[in-house]
Symmetry: C2
Subunit: 243 residues, 2 copies
């Protein structure tokens, strides 16, 4: 039986979803909890990785469950074993062909940036902005990113020539709330670092360090050296994975 779980985590103390050398990954912690429940090694597969310090409001993973366990019971069973900054929100049985990564239709990411340099609690949860941003210029810049594009320029990962780097961004919204700016990205998938690199590029537009048209220029280069901007990980949240 395949069980699909939704998990929220505060990423600040973790090396990201995947295990890193000498650093704890969230995946490992969940697999260890499942091993205690199942009394056997249990691999979990997520919708995708999140990097060190990145948070999740609704990451999704699947695993081969124990037939004897009613699927929804995985919520309290896992939460009892997991640290309090990793919380299972939902667990349900799925058809055998469900796959957390391959079945994923779209994802939503959020980035929170703030002008508030005096909030000590922002440190682990928001990127700090030091200059007033021109939101109109940022909207102009963001328009170039919407739609289907090869986003090689907005990725910093190793390039595997067999893997496509075309993604479709369906919507970008940017909203000022008090001293914070919320960026929301909806797309069918995102390359490694893509959201953070897009956010910092838009911030550079907002502070007039580059023109909005420069976003298109960077995109068109399809070169992973084209964009040098990367927003800090702590402001990024994986909000939702849709199937």
């Amino acid at each position: 039986m395949i069980v699909k779980c939704t998990v929220a985590y505060d990423g600040q103390n973790y090396a990201g979803w995947q295990k890193q050398i000498n650093a704890l990954g969230i995946q490992t912690i969940i697999e260890e909890a499942l091993e205690k429940i199942h009394k056997r090694k249990t691999d979990v597969v997520a919708s995708g990785r999140t990097d060190a310090k990145v948070h999740a409001l609704g990451q999704v993973f699947h695993f081969e469950a124990d037939e004897a366990i009613e699927p929804s019971r995985y919520v309290p069973a896992l939460n009892a074993l997991l640290p309090l900054d990793i919380r299972i929100l939902d667990a349900q049985a799925m058809p055998e062909d469900f796959h957390a990564r391959f079945s994923c239709k779209s994802k939503r990411y959020m980035y929170i940036a703030t002008y508030d340099r005096y909030d000590p609690f922002a440190y682990h949860y928001k990127g700090i902005i030091y200059q007033k941003l021109d939101m109109d210029a940022m909207v102009k810049g963001a328009c170039y990113l919407i739609g289907e594009h090869d986003f090689t320029s907005f990725s910093n990962g190793r390039i595997d020539p067999r893997k496509p780097r075309v993604r479709n961004i369906k919507a970008i919204t940017m909203e000022e709330k008090g001293k914070d700016i919320y960026f929301i990205f909806d797309g069918n998938g995102f390359l490694r670092y893509q959201v953070r690199m897009m956010v910092q590029t838009l911030i550079e537009v907002g502070r007039h360090s580059i023109a909005p048209e420069k976003v298109k220029e960077i995109l068109d280069q399809r070169d992973k050296e084209a964009c040098r901007y990367n927003a800090p990980a702590q402001g990024l949240y994986l909000v939702e994975v849709r199937y």
Copy 2:
């Protein structure tokens, strides 16, 4: 010249205000930053200590400043040297007899408890409650704490017979907001652990594990063994120090 500073901090990664063996205290970090600015060792004196993991929205400390530095300049100078989870909010010159601890007239503490067991971000910032609380019973219990009392029963620190353990609590408010409960305590001062022990005692009243009258009974014992309840440190905030 005496300078009074207001500082906010996220206490989760610190051993509290004061240095502990093998653990970093916020005081030490601020003194090291001042030493860099002054090129001499500079002691700071706070309104009182906060314990490990406790947060501050408005802790106050004073120090012997450098006459050559315009007092308000300590805000950017210190913030440039301090980690981002310790933020100086204000700095001003005070009369020579100002003392952050001895001149203090009253303090406000806040405690945030939450019913939300599925919020991974609550872990470092709120105490988690597992049963629905009876707020009416808690208000009854809290009434016994208001006014001038010997709070020995609500302290866990070492008892120094020379030091008075009478404090005056002017107001306690408890308010439900969504899934959270905010406790606010105003008083002329608080003993070590006093707020956390009062909060957990009131929570015990709220979940009907003890009667509201038991609060008075514990208080009247004036015995530091009388109260076994202590709410987790991460939900506590020093909000304001008044002079």
